[in-house]
Symmetry: C2
Amino acid sequence: MDIINNPSRSEWAQLLARPVADNTQIISTVQSVLDDVRMRGDEAVREYELRFDKASLTNLQVSDREIAEAEVLISEELKAAIATAIGNITKFHEAQLHYPPIIETTKGVKCWQKVVAIDKVGLYIPGGTAPLFSTVLMLAVPAKIAGCKEIVLCTPPNAEGKVNPAILYAASKAGANKIYKIGGVQAIAAMAYGTESVPKVYKIFGPGNPYVTTAKQIVSVKDVAIDMPAGPSEVAIIADSTQKPEIIAADMLSQAEHGTTSQSIVFTTDAELATHIKDEALRQCEASPRKEFISKSLENSRIFVLDNMEDVIDMSNEYAPEHLIISCKDYAAVGAQITNAGSVFLGHFTPESAGDYASGTNHTLPTSGYAKAYSGVNMDSFVKKITFQEITSEGLGNISRTIEVMAENESLFAHKYAVTVRKVH
Amino acid sequence: MDIINNPSRSEWAQLLARPVADNTQIISTVQSVLDDVRMRGDEAVREYELRFDKASLTNLQVSDREIAEAEVLISEELKAAIATAIGNITKFHEAQLHYPPIIETTKGVKCWQKVVAIDKVGLYIPGGTAPLFSTVLMLAVPAKIAGCKEIVLCTPPNAEGKVNPAILYAASKAGANKIYKIGGVQAIAAMAYGTESVPKVYKIFGPGNPYVTTAKQIVSVKDVAIDMPAGPSEVAIIADSTQKPEIIAADMLSQAEHGTTSQSIVFTTDAELATHIKDEALRQCEASPRKEFISKSLENSRIFVLDNMEDVIDMSNEYAPEHLIISCKDYAAVGAQITNAGSVFLGHFTPESAGDYASGTNHTLPTSGYAKAYSGVNMDSFVKKITFQEITSEGLGNISRTIEVMAENESLFAHKYAVTVRKVH
């Protein structure tokens, strides 16, 4: 974890570069699994489940009984927490619904957008040691609010063919209506192409390992929409001495624990604070049961000490962090100048983990600088906006000359004629 | 152009399949041009301009003098038409701007979305015989309204190194602020990676030939966002005997003239009307100066005669057309049931060409069935929605237990500690 003092602007891009994820080694493996599932459907899915998850499955779909069993296994404390999270996520996402007005652009020419849910969506939830039931909520709750009819969820089973009960419980509470015991590339393939038991969906959401991410990239080119390109998680923190180094370090570590490719960046104008943060981060790392793991990911972390707040803001916007914690005195004024970030956490009592679980905002966010062009998952992600126009005879008269002149100048004469023929009749 | 009577639902997918565009032959060519421009910048761009557009260029950027010259070359009639179109496009797109409210999801927990323009966008406008200045308006006008700071436009020059004056005039009126004489894959590469003269942008918009489309697909995987995947243009028409066959046929031809891979589909319950439409389309094709061209693309066209309006609507939603003209008596009721389409044209006086040029809606729309998951270009395409949250000490107290329990159950202990450490202080 380096402390870097006042780098020149020409050095910023290099200093802010993310650890590069090279997937060229795995593309052919991913492609072959995709092709195989496309050709052979469920039979291929079952073979890959046996090979990769050691699970021998007859039914790929989770049964109602399994969902009922999961409910028994979940503590009341966790049920209450999930209910609170669902409540806040629902409030925030429902408020995003917006029905644009009908606009009469010229007399007799009415135009509007109709907001329609994507009919079939697929949610991928990774397995592994940490069951990401919070991601289930972040994807299924807005899909349900949008009105998606088919909300398909795939997640890998364990070797006994069972899905983590917290995932099943969250999925059923949030409104996923078809849950499958399928993980990895075979899950992405099943949802992209459809199989005997898994419906083909129109858009796939959710995080995953490099194989899953590569599979999503490949299917997104021609077959199905995806939420966004995915990279390792990251946090940037803009801090001054009004926040305690211990808290800033804790925020860094809460990112570092995600994986060895995660990045935690601090921007500050206070050199002394920078030293304290570093000491504190190393101390907390030392005390952590996951010390070896976190110390490795802290190697990707950097503390930038800059001359003034203008540089701090510009450098943060250049980095375009997935998460941005603004823990300084003038946090509102600083926040107002942020133009590139996935989600922003304002003030001293707003840790990133609030947004990860329960504030109500979505935690599926653009990484790797994609925040320069992408939004995080929000209600727009689950709908299409179809434009409509209705023109009266008078309205067509009002714009017909414009259309005819433009069509003629683009040498599109049949376009012109489609107007002319309507005027004659 | 076949008339197909009452196909069974199991046959629909096959009958509605688009002509397949196979780009495997050109991927390696496209990749090599992309790599070369990435490595060698302007020098490579100039070489490809000489090779592909026969243009020997010193300055890649269009000068102010060239823009002023273009203005002189444009007729007053076309200037007036462009002004009307800009006015309507502006009215419709401005009305889409929406600033979501601040939501207090729990007492002391405030969440909101901040809408921010994408800083740098790149617009690609194809060259060729028909100068698509209307596409310039459809992309630059909303980019300007959104507040994008850098609106870069690339379009191929002719062999004299000149850009079509209508494109230059439209670009300057609509607000593109950097215009380059670069076409094809080298244009996509220049905007995706940046060169000495072309700024790297964060999102690329616009249509193109299979080379350009493939280049956009490749750069979208890791380097830059794109508007949407692109395929050949298409129209579907839902019609009954209240609309004249001559007009329906004219609408089919206005699509057919785009290119030999374009598709025009009609859905109707009236077998007699179907025959009249076919006769009329062949008659108009015969009379057209572009007969050979249009007759070829009409080969992709089909007229489906179905038993009832329910099948008509379902089949149209299954096709998910880029453009959908609803020219029947109950057009409003039918329109209300449309769930998959790019843009819908309601009633007897609403030709597709109205939306192509001047109604105010955007003509950059999802083709190839992508309308099942994608919207056409709209104001959302030029902005990001950054989520913000601000939590008070009391607010954190209200949700801290929820966060801690969920983090613990996901085995993310540092996430939990980032909350706990704030409560202690």
